[in-house]
């Protein structure tokens, strides 16, 4: 439900800072570790959590996220189990917004109507589905809005002013600005240009604008937080997790902590930047 997302951005605004949005893959490297990581994220400073729906062929993602998805799938992760992890997370945390992020095929195969009912019931607040542009809004975006789930759209450097209204028309919750033309975890964006891009998008929408792709450290997060309402970090967290796995891709004693350590650093980065407007 978009209420949790709105409340969280309201809270960050009151604190005069940008929100930290963290992405991890559901079921990576196994369901229980994945749940432990999900639970640890808000405690380490994440304001919003994105949970990846694993997919075999994530064509807009880089090697880190593809490998994470394949690790999860190998352990038997699927859409039913992903929703179950969110249900278990929700039992303890009623406030942190949960966004499911993935590709359309697993949702289409699950059945859109059934998926929306089950996702809402599990405690999902919003969806980011990478391969559904506004031209395919009938597929999931419009039914999701009707079901009370935010459909969060990606805007990119190639989305010009003429196209922006189309991209923003049915979006809710927040706008996710992809700061580079490229795949996740690839290049580091030009942080100077990010603020300009966020301003451009804000001329078209009252929604918060969060920025992702290429943010790897607390310093990056601070740089993005200067101009944006939120910062998304994904591949760097997945890399941190991967660095702790054993030779068979199994979690070790340090797995959860490796992720939370980076989240804490990112959170400090975001919190180090106080917004003039709120100060």
């Amino acid at each position: 439900m978009t209420k949790r997302i709105e409340a969280r951005f309201e809270q960050c605004r009151a604190e005069g800072r940008a929100a930290l949005v963290t992405y991890v893959m559901a079921g990576d490297p196994d369901p229980e570790t994945s749940l432990a990581i999900l639970k640890s994220l808000p405690k380490a400073g994440a304001d919003i959590v994105e949970f990846g729906l694993p997919f075999t062929d994530p064509m807009a993602d880089g090697p880190a996220i593809q490998a994470a998805g394949l690790r999860a799938l190998k352990m038997g992760q699927d859409t039913v189990k992903t929703l179950d992890l969110i249900r278990r997370f929700r039992a303890e945390d009623q406030d942190t917004p949960v966004i499911l992020m993935g590709y359309f095929n697993p949702i289409f195969v699950y059945g859109v109507d059934r998926f929306l009912v089950d996702a809402r019931e599990a405690g999902v607040d919003g969806l980011i589905v990478v391969d559904l542009p506004p031209e395919e809004d009938d597929e999931l975006c419009l039914p999701a809005l009707k079901a009370g789930l935010a459909f969060i759209r990606l805007a990119t450097p190639t989305t010009d002013d003429k196209r922006l209204p189309t991209v923003l028309s049915n979006t809710a919750g927040f706008v996710y600005y992809v700061s580079i033309t490229g795949i996740t975890g690839a290049a580091t964006p030009d942080f100077g240009k990010v603020a300009t891009a966020v301003e451009r998008i804000k001329r078209h929408t009252p929604l918060p604008v969060v920025v992702g792709f290429g943010v790897k450290s607390g310093a990056h997060a601070a740089a993005v937080a200067e101009g944006a309402d939120g910062v998304v970090v994904g591949s760097a967290l997945i890399d941190a997790l991967k660095g702790t796995l054993d030779g068979q891709d199994r979690a070790t004693a340090g797995s959860v902590e490796a992720v939370t350590k980076l989240v804490k650093e990112l959170s400090e980065g975001v919190r180090s930047v106080a917004k003039r407007a709120a100060a």
């Binding site: 395919e136 759209r153 690839a186």
Partner: protein, 406 residues
Amino acid sequence: MSAQAQPNSFRTGPDERGHFGQFGGRFVAETLMPNILELEKAYEEARNDPAFHADMASYSTHYIGRPSPLYFAERMTEHLGGAKIYFKREELNHTGAHKVNNVLGQILLARRMGKKRIIAETGAGQHGVATATLCARFGLDCVVYMGAVDVERQKPNVFRMNMLGAKVVPVQSGTKTLKDAMNEALRDWVTNVSDTFYCIGTVAGPHPYPAMVRDFQCVIGNETREQMMQAEGRLPDSLVACIGGGSNAIGLFHPFLDDKDIEIYGVEAAGHGLDKLHAASLSGGRPGVLHGNRTYLLMDHDGQIQDAHSISAGLDYPGIGPEHAWLHEMGRVTYISATDEEALEAFQLCSRLEGILPALEPSHALAKVMELAPQKPKDHLMVVNISGRGDKDLFQIAEHLGNQIV
């Protein structure tokens, strides 16, 4: 399936949003959408420009060597003892397959759009070779993504591409075959969207690719109509072509779709068998969304894409062009399948009887011709599309037959 009304014409699709019934569409990341809309507009303009068609016709004749012959396969006809079998000789095209028809169209379009860098994905290597060839001809940068497994089993084509100045990138992700090559090409396109043209090799991907590639391949069917009228004074009774993504098949079929008495057969790769590993998306898959379009896909209960298998790298893809998915559901085209073993047997029969080494892809079509032709009367005219030549497959065939080429 039967609930859908039969349209007056099977040739008018897709609709303005790129849909063939429920299939097709544009399922891509936002980064690519502006480019895809630009491409759609550029293609629309080119399609209506006589100068573009004149260019196509000139290069088709003098560079590709069109029209390709329609050849009466007399010995195969005698051997099978039924239908009169004709081969549409696409393997005689420059670069050895039908792929070049489409690549010529897309490269001329890329030139109109001012794009200097061309990327492509390839399975068997035929589309990669065709793309590398035309990039050499027009002085364009060329990067070809190819699954590492396919790089290994199609070495002669990799070498050809290198000689033509293209960079071949072996794709190590996923199953290291055609679908992963396509993922990697899409990733490149997302990254280099402003100066790069993605030359897709089959009738799949986001709209307008399925329609555009089909239009460029329709030269096969258009020529077949004229050539059959000249040879026999009437249209054929049946058409047979192999299907991976389905571009050679749609090229042959499309100009005949509204001739409702003509039987049309698409042959998918049944690999080790439909109950084992195969690449028959229509016979063994169901509707889903991948690589920019909705179509039939091989997948598990959760919508995860499954490995395809075929002895032919060109058919080894877990999906199929969306127009084929639609023609399947409309019942206009009959989709059947042939196994690896059947294709190998047909390869040998054709080689020995006709002195033509077909690629493993059209060997699948020939395998079903061996089954269908004997059931037909002697005045039945059957056209099979020999979409590519077998030279590229000789190492693999030798291995399967227990020989070694030194």
